[in-house]
């Protein structure tokens, strides 16, 4: 054992020891410590609680959508009479459009992006690179508190005249640009744009912070190629945010100005919308789509890359085996991010843009499947030959890999322009992006919650409840979304309040009922997660610094780490994936563990061949 390893007795006394260099921090009051905190761990946990709450809300909105598709125009149980008394307890078609719009908005802007970058990015970056906090703690605090106006705008919009935004989360002009076009195109749409702008502020503050922290504040010895995949993913995600987000913010302001000041950026002349006076014109409807997707396609990777990083860490840890192909994994994340900027047009194959662009975007889109495939093979390579430990994080990570494979392969169909003509805007698309964003990202997050929970709270979550939660979620998820591929092939369009209005879709009603029942199963399974999470915070089994026998720097800090994180400054000697190393007897070799001189060549990254 190295002398630099924290001695065991420190684990029990960390409450008093951790702040020894920061005596002043003991003075901070409750509000500064837990509410307007500048501590990255508190901010991360604040993000985690908020986003989990929003996950429940977004899921509820989705169940509303599912209810209508399974039992169109029937009285909604429990809440029907309360919410829709005018329609006899059934959803109205305009409310249906708001439901799916706000479901996507909440899930994307208030759950997935902030839970990855906000919760795990905040919590893990300083801990995994060996820093005592973020580079800009106050910006970090603001990045969390800017979420609140966004939430207020999004959720408040349900209660304004006309209701919430109803133009889809993509808010395509001219539907979103002209208040007469839809009931939700009134104040609700304006509030939606304000909400997105605030989420943008939040992301941008986080992004600047993450980049600076990762570049400048790594512990001694933490070279770039000794960083865990989580950090690489967060770093590249932050770069994506920084470059793509301004475009969305600009586009959002253009749309806002068009709606409030009458500037016609997206509305051409002479349109008669809902029998109002013809529009003045001068704008281009396709411009919005280009600007929107220029951000929102990279955003798709913002919504998966951090999960890929975390899953790589978990798979390596629970295979007790080094990550297979560390450098290819890093390069493929970079390739996904780079190519991610030149594929946005694949959302617009049927939009009427120049057909030559369709061909260009098809080739770039096909090529982005390549780094994704490389990552999948490397995950399998990591598992191969390992000594698998079926913990909840590993199960969720295997779930991630298998569903990412489905989501990736189904993407090839829509990347092919001619095939996309048929499946565009059908449930095939819905199946595809739920496999990637829910099947992959959210299962990765489930795993990450279980994995880093002991670091956050010093206690373990229940493994058996976690397994039941995984099994039910996995079954519910696949039964919900896999049949949607078939719906899509059958030409079942998205966003129809009553698809059975078309005779050729009538026979798909039973399949939709099955999907709704599965979605209910999946929805209720989440109470297991919430229950396990809340119970374990107070009653979980107490653990020490490194319950998983993992290698990363975060596991050398106390659980939970005090203010300033590390009681002993970490010095990094090797990469984070030296499991089963022949140099030591244990099957893990922490990054901070000092080995005598002749063995230092064990670092494979120092001498690649």
């Amino acid at each position: 054992m190295s002398t630099l390893n924290p001695a065991d007795h420190l684990i029990t006394t960390h409450d008093h020891e951790t702040g020894h260099a920061h005596a002043a921090h003991h003075e901070i009051g409750f509000v500064k410590k837990y509410v307007f905190s500048t501590d990255h761990k508190i901010i991360g946990i604040q993000f985690l609680f908020t986003t989990l709450l929003m996950l429940l809300l977004g899921g509820t909105l989705a169940l509303g959508v599912r209810w209508q598709l399974a039992f169109p125009w029937r009285e909604m149980p429990v809440v029907g009479k309360l919410l829709f008394s005018a329609q006899g307890g059934a959803i109205s078609p305009e409310f249906y459009t708001m439901l799916f719009t706000m479901h996507a908005t909440v899930m994307i802007f208030l759950v997935i992006i902030p839970i990855l970058a906000g919760a795990f990015g905040n919590f893990l970056i300083p801990l995994q690179i060996g820093a005592d906090d973020m580079a800009f703690p106050t910006l970090n605090m603001l990045s969390y508190w800017f979420m609140w106006p966004a939430m207020a705008f999004f959720l408040g919009s349900f209660f304004v005249e006309g209701g919430a935004a109803a133009a889809g989360w993509t808010s395509y002009a001219t539907l979103s640009a002209n208040p007469p076009a839809a009931p939700g195109s009134g104040l609700g749409q304006t509030m939606w744009l304000m909400g997105v702008t605030f989420v943008g502020f939040s992301s941008m503050l986080g992004s600047v912070n993450y980049m600076t922290t990762i570049i400048n504040m790594r512990a001694p010895g933490m070279t770039l190629f000794r960083m865990p995949m989580t950090i690489w993913a967060m770093f590249i995600t932050a770069i994506l945010q920084a470059f793509a987000l301004p475009v969305l913010t600009a586009a959002g302001f253009m749309l806002l100005f068009e709606r409030t000041l009458g500037m016609s950026f997206f509305t051409p002349g002479g349109l008669v919308i809902n029998n109002t006076a013809p529009t003045v014109g001068g704008g281009q409807a396709l411009l919005w789509q280009h600007l929107f997707w220029f951000y929102s396609h990279p955003a798709v990777y913002i919504m998966i890359l951090p999960a890929m990083g975390m899953v790589s860490d978990m798979i390596s840890c629970f295979s007790r085996k080094p990550l297979f192909g560390y450098r290819p994994m890093v390069y493929s994340i970079a390739a996904i991010a780079g190519l991610g900027f030149i594929v946005w047009g694949h959302h617009m194959f049927t939009s009427g843009m120049n057909p030559a662009l369709g061909m260009t975007f098809m080739v770039s889109t096909m090529m982005i499947a390549l780094p994704s495939a490389v990552k999948t093979f490397n995950w399998l390579g990591t598992l191969w030959g390992g000594n698998l430990q079926f913990t909840v994080p590993l199960l969720n990570s295997i779930g991630f890999v298998s569903m990412f494979v489905v989501g990736g392969l189904s993407g090839i169909f829509m990347a092919a322009v001619p095939v996309d003509i048929h499946i565009h805007d059908t449930y095939y698309i819905v199946a595809h992006f739920h496999y990637v964003l829910f099947g992959a990202t959210v299962f990765g997050v489930f795993g990450a919650i279980h994995f880093w929970f002991p670091k956050m709270f010093g206690r373990m979550m229940s493994e058996s409840v976690g397994k039941v939660h995984f099994i039910l979620s996995f079954i519910g998820f696949n039964c919900t979304f896999f049949p949607m591929h078939m719906l899509g092939v059958a030409g079942f369009p998205r966003r129809l309040a009553d698809p059975y209005n078309y005779q050729y879709l009538e026979h798909l009603l039973p399949l939709n009922r099955f999907i709704t029942y599965s979605a209910l199963l999946m929805g209720f399974a989440q109470f297991l997660l919430i229950g396990n999470f809340l119970y374990s915070i107070f009653k979980g089994k107490k653990v020490g610094r490194n319950p998983w026998n993992a290698n990363g720097l975060e596991w050398t800090a106390p659980s939970p780490p005090g203010h300033g994180n590390f009681d002993i400054l970490p010095i990094v000697y090797r990469g984070p994936y030296e499991y089963a190393s022949p140099l030591v007897e244990e099957d893990f070799l922490p990054q901070t563990r000092f080995l005598p001189n002749e063995d230092r060549h064990a670092d494979p990254y120092a001498n690649p061949h």
Partner: protein, 268 residues
């Protein structure tokens, strides 16, 4: 217990493949009846099946590998894992092969896409004489035909014929429509013909399709266009040439015949 996860994930893979296998017989497949009714649609279906085979083989391969891993290495054997950081050869192999396959898929498709969308590849006779102008608006399809024997003009003519939600085209030959929108985005979707094109406010987009079977087929709006999106339902009627001509004549009669024969004579 550890074998449980092998069975769990393997079952998921088998169920996925099986559900695709039974989908056609359950009616969860391309819109009835059977294969696409248009030559372009048939090509799109072929491409779909080609990709289905490629991705299906890949999926099964990955699932077998995953199953093997779970069986072999998940047995709780307690042995130390293989200490390896990767294999350059393997990385090269599994980069180059998928790259080749993906590039092949991309290039192989270009031709069908060009036939659908590149104007110079359209049937020149058909594009010179569009069947109709289709204007989408909340929440209906307005259709303007030229008078029998005339060619559709950009601006409405006094003898143009109008219908709503009922598009008639001659069967068995390429038909071009000029697609417009009067208010917001809509999408002209003929699921049985595998045709989809957004109607964009401010643009006039020529769309061609060929229906090889006489009959009536749904015309769906596939782009969210407001609260009534779901009820923006139209119909495509593919008719024999003679029936189509007769239909236009009848339309003309019902539109212009006010019972005074002179008006009709003057018009001719």
């Amino acid at each position: 217990m550890n074998r449980f996860w092998f069975f769990f994930f393997s079952f998921a893979g088998v169920a996925a493949v099986a559900s695709f296998a039974v989908a056609p017989s359950m009616g969860w497949w391309f819109p009835a009846p059977g294969p696409s009714l248009s030559p372009l649609g048939a090509q799109i279906d072929d491409l779909f099946y080609m990709i289905l085979v490629i991705t299906g083989v890949t999926f099964i391969g990955v699932m077998i590998a995953l199953g093997y891993i779970l069986w072999k290495f998940g047995s709780g054997r307690g042995e130390r894992s293989t200490f390896t950081h990767g294999s350059h050869t393997l990385e090269v192999i599994w980069s180059i092969i998928p790259a080749g396959v993906l590039l092949f898929i991309a290039l192989y498709q270009m031709d069908v896409w060009a036939r659908f969308r590149v104007k110079s590849m359209f049937d020149q006779q058909a594009i010179a004489h569009p069947v109709a102008e289709v204007t989408a608006r909340q929440f209906e399809w307005r259709i303007r035909y030229p008078a029998p024997g005339k060619t559709l003009q950009d601006t409405p003519q006094f003898d143009d014929l109008y219908t709503v939600n009922d598009l008639h085209v001659p069967v068995g030959k390429p038909a071009v429509i000029r697609l417009k929108s009067e208010d917001v985005l809509h999408s002209f979707y003929l699921p049985h013909l595998r045709i989809k094109q957004d109607a964009v406010p401010g643009l006039v987009i020529p769309v061609w399709f060929q229906c090889d079977k006489v009959g009536e087929f749904p015309l769906v709006c596939a782009e969210l266009c407001g609260w009534g999106h779901y009820k923006m339902k139209g119909q495509l009627s593919a008719q024999r040439e003679a029936d189509f001509a007769k239909y236009l004549e009848e339309l003309s009669t019902s539109q212009f015949d006010d019972g005074v024969p002179i008006a009709k004579a003057e018009e001719k």
